[in-house]
């Protein structure tokens, strides 16, 4: 158990509300698209800057603490920007900048309706995500988690066709049910442990729980966050949510919402239960089982999908469970690898989703079977797609290789060779469902592609940058933001001296 050094600072609060402030500005600028988009970009840049300013302190082990108000007896609505929080917030806010530019290109290229509602909801979602990242205790986490659910709903149903509305209903059904279960889990934890504050190494230190009680509590928590984390069998909202516009799928369903889910899993495993409790009650094995099944099943189901976004959705489900697997291993490399995968998967997957959107806007094609020959027409897009795919399959020097490597080492450290086998198998399956897309794009002849060129710069530039970042972080994992070192630090602070 580590006692975190904290200092009072209002910066975490500002980081959250900067995009809330943007919302009324976006709404009143509704009739002036360029001004309206300016607010989004400005909010994104300021948010990223604020979060970045918290990084040096966090790296030194000092967390910015800001308490808003007492929201229940003994529990405060409080923000604490510890290393893990800053890590997640950086990824989310950084990628929001790219997604904002990409969004502009997408919604204008597609001439979408209700653009004001789109940009306003996006801003609220990012506030909620940063709120989740900086939550100091589980009740604050629940507050922002539920706000995220409600704020993403207008984005999921954006197109307002039958598919979107049905996807929205499914999304709400799953996420609201999960939220309710989380409330029960929080109530139980508060009653037994007397606190809901996140603490590296867990908060149940000297509390005796029965095996059944601990298992039930863990399963409640897991169900609560497992929906957003895409753990099977709670995952089916994710492929359905692909009815949303692609930037939504890219940032929210590959970075913000689903990563909030796995963020929750890591918080629960490392900061509420703690490695000792997870191991002593065998809870890590339960987690491992769910993760393993999810990885393999999702990878297999990805083959079946002809719709490009749905294939990416199943790939996301699989990769989210890499993270879950990593923390379930409770070994230094495994835990660190899992956390680092949050960052690497984000850049790679967002690239792929961006590509899918560009293909849709540019060529109006959604299905893989129609993608023959598009590499000649959209070379930059498909090159980026290739980089992302290679990384997800775990091929160096893309950053995906590094997280996978450490996950594998972590599996060996924990003497769980089954996990290693799952990882290797999944890598092969990844290659199996991505490479045919690349093959079709570059090595087959396309029809009706004359006269088409690359997608608009607003879309292609973010695609190229995120792909390039995947490569760059693969070569220099600690560049700029020390993502890798941070992941290791977090792992150490949680695991402490724990040995299996």
């Amino acid at each position: 158990m580590e006692i975190l050094q904290t200092y009072n600072s209002i910066v975490p609060f500002y980081a959250i509300i900067v995009s809330i402030i943007a919302v009324p500005l976006i709404i009143i600028s509704g009739k002036f698209p360029n001004l309206r988009e300016f607010w989004t970009i400005l909010a994104a840049l300021v948010k990223f800057g604020l979060v970045l300013s918290l990084l040096p302190g966090a790296m030194e082990g000092k967390a910015a603490l800001y308490s808003l108000l007492e929201i229940a007896p003994g529990i405060e609505l409080a923000l604490k920007a510890d290393q893990f929080g800053v890590f997640f917030a950086l990824i989310a806010s950084g990628l929001w900048i790219f997604t904002s530019f990409y969004s502009i290109g997408y919604v204008r290229g597609n001439d979408e309706r209700k653009q004001t509602r789109y940009f306003a909801s996006f801003s609220v979602c990012l506030s909620a995500t940063i709120g989740i990242a900086f939550s100091a205790n589980f009740l604050t986490f629940i507050v922002f988690y539920e706000i995220l659910t409600i704020a993403t709903y207008p984005l999921v149903i954006h197109k307002e066709n039958k598919e979107a509305i049905s996807a929205g209903r499914k999304y709400l059904l799953y996420t609201l049910s999960a939220g309710i279960i989380l409330i029960a889990a929080a109530g139980l934890t508060y009653t037994y442990a007397g606190t809901l504050n996140f603490n590296p190494g867990g908060i149940f230190e000297s509390i005796e729980l029965s095996q059944g009680g601990a298992t039930v509590l863990f399963l409640l928590f897991l169900t609560g966050v497992g929906v957003k984390a895409g753990i099977m069998p709670l995952h089916s909202w994710l492929p359905a949510a692909m009815a949303a516009p692609t930037p939504v799928s890219a940032l929210l369903h590959a970075v913000a919402v689903v990563k909030s889910g796995v963020f929750g899993v890591v918080r629960i495993v490392g900061f509420i239960f703690g490695p000792e409790m997870m191991y002593n009650y065998g809870l890590n094995n339960i987690l491992l089982a769910f993760a393993g099944v999810t990885i393999i099943t999702a990878s297999l189901l990805a083959f079946k999908q002809d719709n490009l976004k749905r294939r990416l959705a199943y790939s996301t489900i699989g990769h989210l469970s890499y993270i879950v697997l990593g923390v379930a291993l409770l070994s230094p490399s495994g835990f660190a690898g899992g956390i680092f995968h949050i960052a690497t998967h984000a850049t790679m997957k967002i690239t792929l989703f961006f590509c899918a959107g560009a293909i849709y806007v540019n060529l109006h094609k959604e299905n893989i079977s129609e993608l023959n020959g598009i590499g000649k027409v959209m070379p930059w897009t498909m090159a980026a797609f290739t980089i992302g795919s290679l990384g997800l399959a775990g091929i160096p020097p893309i950053n995906g290789f590094i997280s996978k490597w450490f996950l594998g080492v972590g599996a060996l450290q924990a003497n769980m060779s089954i996990a290693l086998i799952i990882l290797v198998l999944s890598g092969l399956l990844n290659a199996g469902y991505f490479f045919p897309i690349i093959h079709r794009a570059f090595f087959r002849e396309g029809k009706n592609l004359e006269g088409h060129k690359e997608a608009s710069l607003l879309m292609v530039l973010p695609i190229v940058i995120t792909a390039f970042l995947s490569l760059l972080f693969g070569l220099f994992p600690d560049l700029f933001f020390n993502f890798f070192t941070t992941a290791v630090n977090i792992s150490n602070s949680v695991l402490g001296g724990f040995l299996r």
């Binding site: 007492e70 929201i71 409600i150 066709n161 059904l173 309710i180 139980l188 009653t191």
Partner: protein, 498 residues
């Protein structure tokens, strides 16, 4: 000086205006409404002052005509009763502001009588809450009930029948109550609540007391509309005029809940009714039944007011559950929900009233996305109230559920926990259905054209109806964030020994 008279002053202001309004109204019809507002404003201000005073200085006891209890009738203005009085009078103030236009339209020629009866209703409610005498409680139950029947009966075509049904059921309930306190008087020789509470340990083992307890619980259960004594509620809320349902729905059942709390916790004692007898569990089980029944029935409704009526049955169930748990968190949850639900239901019935004012009906099947454009603020308030009812933080509704959850865990009542959680999901179904209809084009419409064929102009209700709606809706956010401030006061309201 005024403080010592507050317990009597607050109900008497309403009584005085109830008598004054017809007199002055015969002279000038237009005076009825201003008189009612002035009376309510005065009482509400006194309620605020009284509540703060009581929290700082302790309970105020008032003996009518100077007769000392237990011979005389005593009014007890303690933290709990002053809080409930504050909620009732504040909500009434907001409702009366909202009701000006609906009453002018629906009840044009009966305004004077209507406002007079409203004042009578409030006299009854305030009297019920502040009194410290069991028989006096009966008197005021009857006053408020009779006033209530009249206010409901002036509604639509089916209203008189709904009111009549309420009258029958309510009178039976009141008779049970009278019988119950008769037995109590027989066994103890007193009708004063504090006195009876002191005598109770000596007489509680007698079967007469048990019968009296059951009779009183059933009677107050009718008033509170706990399942299965809720039968009068759906029709009454649906067919009553806008102003009546806005008034009765948020606070009518709450006074019944308060009376149940007062008698169970402060006269019989929590240990007696929940630990020695299984009455607490019985109340909780029936409340759970009401929660599920109300939520499921609400999903089946096609008309907004009827849906809100069944939703109220479910929400009262939460308060009943809190009472039945008989532990600190349950108590806090019940009292907090009394406040939160009053705000939420008032907002929702305001919205039903707003829609009826503009379109003539509140039929859910006729909602479509033009409502979003025509009534943006009303629908925004609806969204906030709906999210609060579902229990999404940081809105008020989440916190009453949080305390109830903690209360069920404290007693290890896993069934009740599951009921609370499931009902949140059921609530989401019937509220999000409306939100979907209002904020999105139906699939059939979106196929026709990509753009609207004509500009749908904003046609929001007038300020006197809109502002109360918004005030309450924003209040839900405030109540949610500041719930700890309120809860800290609720700790002072708990009976000794909890």
């Amino acid at each position: 000086m005024i403080e010592r008279n507050l317990p009597a002053l607050i109900p008497l202001i309403f009584l005085a205006s109830a008598l004054l309004i017809p007199i002055l109204g015969l002279w000038k019809k237009k005076l009825a409404y201003p008189l009612a507002i002035i009376a309510t404003l005065t009482s509400a201000s006194l309620s605020v002052y009284g509540f703060i005073y009581v929290l700082l200085n302790g309970t105020i006891r008032y003996n009518f005509s100077g007769w000392i209890p237990p011979i005389g009738i005593e009014y007890v203005y303690d933290p709990l009763s002053s809080f409930v009085v504050l909620v009732i009078n504040f909500i009434t103030l907001v409702v009366l502001t909202h009701s000006f236009i609906p009453v002018t339209i629906d009840l044009e020629f009966k305004q004077t009588a209507y406002y007079s009866v409203v004042m009578l209703l409030l006299t009854g409610f305030n009297g019920m809450v502040i009194t410290g005498d069991l028989f006096n409680l009966y008197v005021f139950i009857e006053i408020s009930s009779l006033a209530g029947y009249a206010l409901i009966a002036v509604g639509e075509k089916k209203a008189p029948f709904a009111a009549f049904r309420y009258l029958i059921i309510g009178t039976i309930g009141a008779s049970f109550y009278l019988l119950g306190i008769g037995y109590l008087y027989f066994m103890s020789g007193t009708l004063n609540m504090s006195d009876l509470a002191a005598i109770m340990p000596m007489i509680k083992d007698s079967p007469t007391i048990l019968v009296a307890l059951i009779l009183i619980v059933v009677a107050l259960g009718v008033k509170m509309a706990i399942f299965p004594m809720h039968g009068w509620l759906p029709d009454s809320y649906t067919y009553a005029p806008t102003s009546t349902s806005s008034l009765i729905a948020p606070i009518g059942t709450k006074v019944g809940a308060y009376a149940m709390m007062r008698i169970l916790f402060f006269v019989f004692g929590a240990d007696y009714f929940s630990k020695e007898l299984p009455v607490g569990d019985l109340i909780a089980i029936f409340a759970c039944g009401g929660i599920i029944f109300g939520s499921v029935m609400a999903i089946a409704q096609k008309e907004l007011k009827r849906m809100l009526a069944y939703s109220s049955v479910a929400q009262i169930g939460y308060i009943g559950l809190g009472i039945g748990l008989a532990n600190p968190f349950g108590f806090i949850g019940a009292v907090l929900h009394l406040l939160n639900h009053a705000f939420m239901k008032a907002t929702l019935f305001f919205i039903a009233g707003n829609l009826r004012n503009k379109t003539g009906n509140s039929d859910i099947t006729l909602f479509d996305d033009s409502y979003r454009k025509k009534y943006p603020w009303t629908m925004a308030s609806f969204t906030i109230a709906a999210l609060s009812m579902v229990g999404l933080p940081p809105l008020a509704g989440f916190f009453s559920k949080w305390y109830l959850v903690l209360g069920t865990i404290e007693n290890s009542k896993w069934l009740y926990l599951a009921v609370i959680l499931t009902s949140s999901l059921l609530n989401a179904v019937y509220f999000f259905r409306i939100i979907e209809k209002v904020y999105m084009k139906s699939p059939a419409q979106s196929k026709d054209s990509g753009t609207d064929n004509f500009e749908i102009k904003r046609d929001e209700v007038s300020a006197s109806m809109l502002i109360p709606t918004l005030i309450l809706a924003i209040g839900l956010i405030v109540l949610g964030l500041l719930n700890v401030v309120i809860v800290n006061q609720i700790y002072k309201m708990m009976p000794v020994g909890m």
